[in-house]
Amino acid sequence: MVAGPPIDDFEDPAPGGGAGEQLVLDLDGFEGPIDVLLMLARQQKVDLARISILQLADQYLAYFAAARRLRLELAADYLVMAAWLAYLKSRLLLPRHEDEDEPSAEDLADALAFQLRRLEAMREAGQRLMARDLLGRDTFARGAAEGIIVIEIPIYALTLYDLIKAYADQKRRNQPAMLTVPPSELFTIEAAVKRLSVMLGQTIRWTVLESFLPSGLVEGLLSRSALAATFAGTLELAREGKLQLRQTHPFGPIYVRQPPGKPS
């Protein structure tokens, strides 16, 4: 985690270090502060369950004080841990405040000790796993296993109802059904022209187109065909000069009248 000059060379006692204390700073191969803490904890040569967190904090802080003197750049997580351990140490040493809401210093120390023990346990578990006779490393499976052939037997979930329904469905489909097309009731243009010709005699003023429609047609296909046929009829009659059309704006009402001066 140390960027900067190679640190493998620091085999000498750290300058200003404790008398006779051999401090070798080599962070290569450490995985973050917890790794360093575990290494230091092991140096206490006690069961991790009885580790002295205070002592551990001192060791860690001394370790990184030395690193700072060597002006090594330490990654942020190492510094965060150093700061947190310094804080934990001060709380462990100072008398406890009564009104504290946070977890006690002892709880924090216990949590740290627990985490170190748990990581140590997982490391050992990993080593134990890797020490087993591993398939593909220590033992081998059959190289040319024939495999077991699976013959699939189809099971069809078909009920008697499904069967009879299928028969009925296809029978019904094949019944000689007569396709009867009902005669379409449409209003023809011829009828519209006829009707218009009759009605125009009485139309001198502009009259709205709809009033030429046969009465009694409210809606539906016949009504729409009547409107279309009547409109087409007016165009036909206008072309012949027999009537005039007016529409003031697009999609506005259409007005019809007899041309002025034309004898009815």
Binding site: L163, A166, Q175
Partner: protein, 214 residues
């Protein structure tokens, strides 16, 4: 110093783990030089002679192979749920009602051709079987249902199948409603005016235009 029984274990393990038959030279490389490999292989072949696995000499060398007489035991039967196609169900129904029936007759009734596979599926399911040939030109073979067919559907005999009258009574033969030929005409209008916000001509031919029509 060679330990024959240890060399035997090594050769056995090598043959077991090998992906391909092991040439004798490759086996010899893994045992002490003074080993009588031929004798080892002969002993191993003998050890396995009556077992479920045999040592055999094949093209590339030596290999352990499952005993040929056990091939059947190495096949596992697994039941899988399948769904019959509509064509298959209908074909089965027609065979049940009209048996014995030729393929051509099934096709005539269904109005479409019956694929070879459809009859195969029904045959493999054990529900239909050939029923002799029709005494007609080409002597076509006929199909009928089987005992397992009756068992599957819980029928005593094919006579238990409901007849046409009963189907009618159950409403299964009701004719489909005839299509109304002029129904969708109004839609055709709006189809020709894709950009118009016209639902359909609901009575007036003239609807307010879209902005972009002006």
């Amino acid at each position: 110093m060679s330990d024959p029984s240890q060399s035997l274990r090594v050769v056995e393990a090598l043959l077991f783990a090998a992906r391909e038959p092991m040439p004798e030279a490759a086996l010899a490389a893994q045992v002490p030089e003074d080993t009588d490999l031929r004798a080892l292989l002969a002993r191993l072949a003998d050890d396995y002679a009556d077992r479920g696995v045999n040592l055999v000499k094949v093209a590339g060398g030596w290999a352990l192979r499952t005993a040929p007489d056990l091939a059947g035991a190495l096949q596992k039967e697994a039941e899988v749920q399948r769904k019959l196609s509509r064509a298959a169900v209908e074909t089965l129904a027609i065979i049940a009602y009209h048996q014995p029936v030729t393929r051509a007759e099934i096709e005539q009734i269904r109005g479409v051709s019956v694929s070879r596979g459809t009859l195969d599926i029904l045959f493999e399911a054990g529900w239909i079987q050939p029923r002799g040939r029709r005494r007609s030109p080409g002597r076509p073979s006929t199909w009928g249902t089987t005992r397992p067919f009756l068992d599957h559907f819980g029928l005593e005999s094919v006579d238990d199948l409901p007849g046409a009258d009963e189907l009618k009574a159950a409403g299964l033969l009701d004719a489909a409603p005839t299509p109304t030929p002029l129904g969708p005409i109004a839609d055709a209008e709006s189809d020709t005016l894709p950009e118009a916000g016209v639902e359909d001509g609901s009575g007036t031919l003239f609807e307010p235009p879209d902005e972009n029509h002006e």
